[in-house]
Symmetry: C2
Subunit: 413 residues, 2 copies
């Protein structure tokens, strides 16, 4: 069950859709699918957004096939929705007017690893975990990690960021070049493999975050990084969420090159303890990771320890073995599922806020007060090194009174 706020939009003409699907059946055979189950799967979103399935799903195997689909849909004015694996939390893959879902799951090739240039050329349908699996034997990795095992095509299209952005930047900073099918079916390359250019408009950046509105991404050249010599992760609790934020602010202001610094409120810690069978202290917490040389990581950890102590932080728990770290980060990544399990039957409505870091503590505190005034429960996780946090508000779709007209914050006067 899901929640629908929006009025239905005008659907595309049935004749046009039928004509496109007939053509697609001819060219793609059983790679054009109209079964209800597959269509529903391509409208599935993880949150409260109501599913709006496409009329058909087509599975191209290369850029030329994508171009042929785009030309066909354009000729008939039928909407097209590029699809990765559907991990979006915000309904990106829905087809409100109907149309064709272009599923990139048959375009997963790693075309070239340029080890000595620290870049990789891939197709859009590969997921970040699959890519990093492939890269491991080279001693390289791609750091951007939005939590879900999203496809790189989806991550480019949505300008994904996540837990590592504080050190490595977002997708904006880590894409070198793209190949894109434009709305008229032309195939364009936005840049070469060179690391810098001052020639022409930054078309690469224009496509990053364009959410499928400017074209379909068919090839991606990404920056890679050497696996850090040393990695260390830790949890550290604080007497209040403000103290945890203040420690984060000082960490960033002093230029400590922390790789990850994630905030969890006490309820979120409780939720992941239950969901992931951990026994973390149920208090406001920072979850940290340091990357560097052995000496560098040790120095960073010491410095962070000094900062944390200033704000009453303590009870450090270190995870230096890879499997301990994986367990900790998996628990963090499962925070959506852990949260909704706090109130079974609910869906999570996720907010996504980014403020200049000096206002982070204020913003998190005010958001908690706002939530309290509504009577809902919700959890907080945040990529706080960037001033970015999410509140996941748990709402029961079976109780319209929880959302219809009631989604107003009672502001303190």
């Amino acid at each position: 069950m899901t929640i629908t706020f929006e009025k239905p939009v005008q659907r595309v003409s049935e004749g046009a859709v039928d004509a496109v699907i007939a053509e697609l059946h001819k060219s793609f055979g059983n790679r054009c699918v109209t079964s209800q189950a597959v269509r529903d799967q391509h409208a599935h979103t993880l949150t409260w957004t109501a599913p709006q399935p496409p009329d058909a799903v087509v599975y191209p195997q290369n850029a030329d096939e994508v171009a042929s689909i785009v030309k066909l849909c354009a000729a008939h004015k039928v909407p097209m929705i590029p699809f990765g694996v559907g991990t979006s939390l915000e309904g990106h893959v829905n087809a409100p007017q109907g149309g064709i879902s272009i599923d990139t799951s048959m375009m997963k090739r790693v075309i070239a690893v340029h080890e000595s240039d620290l870049d990789v050329v891939i197709e859009p349908g590969i997921t970040r975990k699959e890519l990093n699996e492939h890269l491991r034997s080279y001693g390289l990795f791609f750091p951007i990690d939005p939590g879900a095992d999203a496809t790189l095509g989806g991550m480019v299209a949505t300008r994904a960021s996540g837990t590592n952005a504080v050190r490595y930047g977002t997708m904006r900073d880590n894409v070198i070049a793209l190949e894109v099918v434009l709305p008229n079916g032309d195939l364009v390359k936005t840049a070469s493999r060179a690391r810098k250019t001052s020639a022409g408009y930054d078309l690469t950046r224009l496509f990053i975050g364009s959410e499928g509105t400017l074209g379909v991404i068919t090839k991606i050249t990404l920056k890679l990084y050497g696996l850090p010599e040393a990695v260390s992760a830790a949890t550290c609790t604080f007497p209040s969420i403000r103290a945890a934020c203040d420690a984060t602010i000082m960490t960033i202001q002093t230029g400590l090159p922390v790789a990850r610094i994630e905030l969890l409120d006490a309820l979120m810690v409780k939720a992941i303890n239950i969901h992931s069978k951990l026994s973390l202290p149920e208090a406001p917490m920072l979850l940290l990771e340091f990357h560097g040389t052995e000496a560098g990581v040790a120095e960073q950890a010491t410095r962070f320890g000094e900062i944390a102590a200033e704000f009453g932080g303590g009870d450090f728990r270190w995870a230096t073995r890879p499997e301990e770290r994986s367990k900790l980060w998996q628990a963090r990544h499962d925070s959506y599922w852990a949260s909704v399990a706090l109130r079974p039957g609910t869906k999570g409505v996720s907010t996504d806020v980014c403020v200049p870091i000096s206002r982070l503590a204020d913003c998190v505190e005010e958001t908690q007060a706002d939530l309290a005034s509504t009577g809902f429960i919700g959890t907080i996780v945040g990529h706080v090194g960037d001033g970015n946090f999410h509140m996941l508000i748990l709402i029961d779709p079976a109780k319209p009174e929880e959302y219809l007209g009631s989604f107003k914050i009672k502001k303190a006067s």
Copy 2:
């Protein structure tokens, strides 16, 4: 004297220009200047590009005045050329069709330093040295350094990079938000001060590098960095330019976070020895700078020393005192003047090449062979950590046989 390759283009209609200038005189009084000397100064370019002066120069003091100029020029279809301080080496500020130069030198305010958010809001006419002078008392700096003391407006418009890009990125990576006057006179803000956003098209990046073709930049929000706790610079000579390139490639591949790694060929070193009264060993050379904690800088220096040794590098000369470092970098920044002094009366034609780093040594060697085949002399400097280098070819404008039709490379068969 300068060299003209291009055929003259059609000038804008005189009536239109006269109408615009008459209006500008009314609104801007003596801030609209038509004297030949000022016009020439606004067409002055440092290289062989022939000057093409505008018809008038106007000095706005704020964004509203810029908008009024843009509206006026647009209404009369008169070209407008935003102007910083004219340090471009490639003729950007020329007015081939005539028109109005919009000089931003009266828009130099630092509007706000957000110390705790590590950002600054400025007007476009401030230069990078003026900005860093202003920031010093905060313990902060803006790292992008294209060599010349360019304005930040010009650096945004041309997507400048330079010596620090290997560590801090280019202008692309360090602009948070812009305020821009669009061609129709509308004033737009491209983003907020938040560090990340996944909302909407990346208009900030679209304007960075657009070279005045999409609008006039009137306000800039930049990322800042804490002044590093420790800085150390060094020169290191190599038996060949290939060896210097190979050491650079390995430095980058091992992820050593060097702040600057600049290549100079032997002739370039000789030129700066003469020009800047230094006594550097006249051999292929890397000029390096390390930023970090005391321990971090020491560790980086040790690691770089090991890499250099593998490629026959040595004769390290360290500059740890700020005044020694300034002298060294000033000499590097004066490389244009040092080069042209090698052959008095010449102008430098600068190339700007960026290749994937694994091909750097090949590309530099082939370029040297190309130059040798022409009989010209030229110097090489390079931001080699990014795979980027310049060759400055010295040409005598008084000898047309040096450039007319002769600018062909005799390729080795």
